[in-house]
Symmetry: C2
Subunit: 273 residues, 2 copies
């Protein structure tokens, strides 16, 4: 279990201090430069609340910009792109997002890696796993571990998952993603585009992940070296109605993979039509 | 040709005023909150230069966070993920990024769409086209059309292209991307991860795209309704050594597609090994 992958846990790095002392300037004000329409991050105190800045920027954006010459206003982007049914039939697979959420140590990466290998090597399917490693080191290099930056990180991963899903890729997201609202927002973005989204809950409790402690992170928490750790002194909001409940403490990795393969078969993901 | 797709042209929207009047606060100062390690956007003037904030955030991020239990420091992410050679052999295709750059009206989207259809429908390959529609309406919803936001948009598309490329997807980027430095940065990010990147220059001059004017944008420029338009009153820096030079004014769409298919064959993209 990679700590860098965890949007809901604390990244331990010598160059990164802990979150405890962050003073967020809640009093920041945001004004629009009326002469240009540009958004400017402004505050009376001289500090900009980057989270509020982003929220404002997102709120200002029209939900759809459809620019294909052939598309009527509000029409689907399928007018510009190949229709999904034709695409999926041709490539022999359908897009889906498995959003795997759970505590650090709950098996997200382990099970996703094993599932990926099964899908790629045995079935020849195109798969991408979006985790802390490949997202934190690339797209999200500009984000830290403040609550605002974590929210933005989950939002971006949700958007990238939509893009993979559209292309017909089986998309495995492995982020702690501790907040229900963030996960629901990712689901909404998928559903508004008619993209299949399945929340997979790594249903193992704190005692289990403490006992596993594959990276020794819980030991560090107990030693006071880590603060704001998801499930200990920071919240983890478990899914209320996950699409897949995976109590993997009582299952082997291969049993967990088999269960997810069954779900993918049932969704028709492994065939394109 | 979609104006929303064009990171280097001006988006025309009733809700969006022109860029001419943007006053960028160059005097902004950025300080690190020493108590927390968090980056705070601060300026004496009370306005935050979001571009400089992002540059600072990017500069602070360690280039790699490798967290797989099995990975040595600095080791490839392949240790955590399936090796590329095995993946590509299994799925029967290799990842590549075709970065298509050129003026508005130069044929990027038209040729990319035709190429996508050829690859998907005739060859059963998994393809994603990253253009203004699917990126601007999703991942980049928080970004506007200021120079800083355009730079960030190109950076993010470059990072997403890397993710698709890693998964073995044939990735078609269709952005005006007028600045050489931005395109070179996308290339560098690919090459540092040993991901094939081919810059495709839609080599048609301003007279040609003015005559085509598929969206009537150049007419609007001439009427003074659009300002800072790439190639007219905003710069377009043409590739000095494009990997593929596509003077598509002298070619049909199908000839252009055939030329790109030849390139993909030569790169071994259409077979996995």
């Amino acid at each position: 279990m990679a700590y860098g992958e965890d949007d809901g846990s604390v990244r331990v790095s010598k160059s990164q201090l802990y979150l405890g002392g962050i003073s967020i300037i809640l009093s920041s004000l945001f004004v629009l430069s009326r002469s240009s329409g540009a958004l400017v991050c402004t505050s009376a105190a001289g500090n900009c609340d980057i989270g509020a800045y982003r929220a404002e920027a997102l709120a200002r954006t029209p939900p759809n910009i459809i620019e294909c010459a052939e598309a009527d206003a509000g029409a689907s982007q399928e007018i510009c792109h190949l229709p999904s049914a034709e695409r999926f039939a041709a490539i022999g697979q359908k897009g889906v997002t498995l959003w795997m959420t759970g505590l650090s140590g709950s098996g997200k990466s382990t099970i996703a890696r094993a599932l990926e290998e099964e899908l790629v090597v045995k079935h020849g399917k195109v798969v991408q796993m979006l985790d802390g490693d490949n997202v934190r080191t690339g797209l999200n290099r500009d984000l830290g571990f403040s609550p605002e930056d974590r929210g933005e990180s989950v939002r971006r991963v949700g958007e990238i998952a939509c893009l993979f899903n559209q292309a017909g890729v089986i998309t495995l997201v492995t982020l702690v993603s501790p907040y229900r609202a963030d996960r629901d927002a990712a689901r909404d973005r998928h559903e508004s585009q008619k993209l299949p989204f399945l929340e997979v809950y790594m249903n193992v409790n704190l005692d289990v992940v403490r006992a596993r402690d594959p990276k020794g992170l819980y030991a560090k928490v107990d030693a006071g070296e880590l603060k704001d750790f998801t499930g200990v002194d920071a919240p983890y909001e478990q899914p209320l109605q996950p699409d897949v409940d995976l109590p993997n403490n009582e299952m082997s990795v291969s049993q967990s993979v088999a269960m997810l393969m069954e779900v993918l078969y049932a969704e028709g993901v492994l065939r394109g039509n």
